[in-house]
Subunit: 273 residues, 3 copies
Amino acid sequence: MFGPYLEAVRRQAPLIHNITNYVTANDCANLLLACGASPIMADDPAEVSEVQTACAGLHLNLGTLHTGTVAALLSAGCTANALGHPIVLDPVGVGISALRGTTARQLLAELHITVIRGNLSEIKVLARGSGNVHGVDADAADALTEQTLDRVIPMVKDLARRTGAVVAVSGAIDLVADGKTAYCIRNGCAMMRRVTGTGCQLSALTAAFVAASPDKPLAAAAAAVTAMGLCGQIAQSRLTPGEGNAALHSRIIDAMYNLTPRQLEEGERFETR
Amino acid sequence: MFGPYLEAVRRQAPLIHNITNYVTANDCANLLLACGASPIMADDPAEVSEVQTACAGLHLNLGTLHTGTVAALLSAGCTANALGHPIVLDPVGVGISALRGTTARQLLAELHITVIRGNLSEIKVLARGSGNVHGVDADAADALTEQTLDRVIPMVKDLARRTGAVVAVSGAIDLVADGKTAYCIRNGCAMMRRVTGTGCQLSALTAAFVAASPDKPLAAAAAAVTAMGLCGQIAQSRLTPGEGNAALHSRIIDAMYNLTPRQLEEGERFETR
Amino acid sequence: MFGPYLEAVRRQAPLIHNITNYVTANDCANLLLACGASPIMADDPAEVSEVQTACAGLHLNLGTLHTGTVAALLSAGCTANALGHPIVLDPVGVGISALRGTTARQLLAELHITVIRGNLSEIKVLARGSGNVHGVDADAADALTEQTLDRVIPMVKDLARRTGAVVAVSGAIDLVADGKTAYCIRNGCAMMRRVTGTGCQLSALTAAFVAASPDKPLAAAAAAVTAMGLCGQIAQSRLTPGEGNAALHSRIIDAMYNLTPRQLEEGERFETR
């Protein structure tokens, strides 16, 4: 089902503007290039509106957030909204500080966000105003598994309804939902959590997929999540003895570079609820 | 012909000061170490003049430009000029915003730049005041190929003449010219465009090559461009099935680490016009 | 001897807050994940105290130091001190500018630093107020070898005594000392110097080891230094022809990912003086 969404990215090569952290910016850029899109990183309030005008989508990421960057997030976001470009918001570590919490709420209040993508701890903070936080990772109490799925889906659909955004939650099972439909995606591998920035990369990828299929943000976001998970599986299957998270890191990007629409369709594992 | 320029870098191990973007700074540092030079990144206006004093060359790069960094670019540049250290300017994405355009023009007006290195879209913006821009990549209309070479060379030589800088243009064919002579270099491979930061890395490398051979900036810059292209070819030839742009990324640096002056001379493909 | 210190990291998975440079932040994060810890990077003065509260240790690194970040270093450090969290200070390139020198001295005066980790040039600047500096690398005159060891140990112990910190010096031989005891560690390989950020990564790793064994900072820091050196050796032994510093870069992280307490104990090479 998701093959055409990857094809659309390859055909359109959307230019994606990332206002993101310095920890994983290189990985986001290389993953965007791997999937067939183009990246640009620019975060000075003086230029982000112009930069966004030249782009097809926007990825806003709160990792290593600076006070001075909030104006850039808003400026680029307003331009994206005015031009109808999709925005993906990644509220990295949103529960860990007032700066991140306030900024995330302000972005949700002032902008129309197309997709919110985070782990369950981050999504709970946005949905309920509070949650367990373990740095930038999901707290152990917030594992998204078969056991917790039934309780999580209504919360996620409710957040989607209230914000008008598609909500994508990463975990052992990935969940991508709007107010009505939830995709439960069973691709990915646990070892991806040991590579920094797989979440940020997925947010950048989601921006590319949604930019290339702007009329279908739910399915496009689900396709991006599935593609990333499948690339994690492919990468893990190619590890040799003695290799670890650095090898996985490179191989995920390589898997995306080589991923075909057909391979994506054969590997996708999901159901809707 | 270019072997001695690599030898000079290996022998002198020049310390290169980079004021550059956070997306590819790690790659610039590792490529400088690979070629035998040493990197330092420092961009606070309070320290860049002192830092440059301790260095042998300067790489100014406009990717992820911040308004507050412009003073650092100028301060480090003035010190480099006063001490006779070469400066390489990489006008990343210069057509995309007024901030980048204004800054590039100010640097060219107030500093003596030794080498300007960019893609054809960026060089056109500097040469003509306008150009097609596709983010940080060359626009499709600005491919540097056999067909466009004859038209591009005079423009590049003219820019070199007006600025007093060597101008290095990256594309399917690379062009390195001063006001009189243009090296047309046929090393490199198309897949390098799918690795973020190969341009930034080349700018850093060029600073190392010119710093080690300060009396011959044209040939040294051409040697750096040739070495980078050859490393791209070597890296690509070593890819195995299933590998992609992340593997190429590492292998380019590894190829530079192992590149010998003799290998460079055997692999160099260029003519002058 | 050092196996239990690695075990403690794996068992506790300490969350380490890094205020560090943008050149090697990705590597620090992946190395922390490889050893079993978790990373978070946050450097805005508005949030670092809250972030540190949620963490178990703090890594302060002066690479790419910004004037505006000094307040964040102090704020996070005060919180760490108040909560009894260990702080590792990496005075990257401290001799190269007044900004770095003044900041390092201020941090040592206002905070209780648990471990100072740097190369011999950097440590000399802190110990004597001056030293030879070659960018962010140790000056050739500051090699830490069998010949210089006897002269260096008293200086390092004296700095430890005056600051109350464990002092870890990286070189051909690594030295980790408090006021009384010095571990002379003979793991590691020369090629690690050709990978940017191995020092920064070691500082982050040291923060994780000390955070997991807070009552034994000397032995925990020595264990981290030994583990990093051993991973360098393992990584180098796995290089194949044509590979270079980029491959070493990945393989060091992979070696840490796979390092067992038993392997550490079998590979450790040190004596105390």
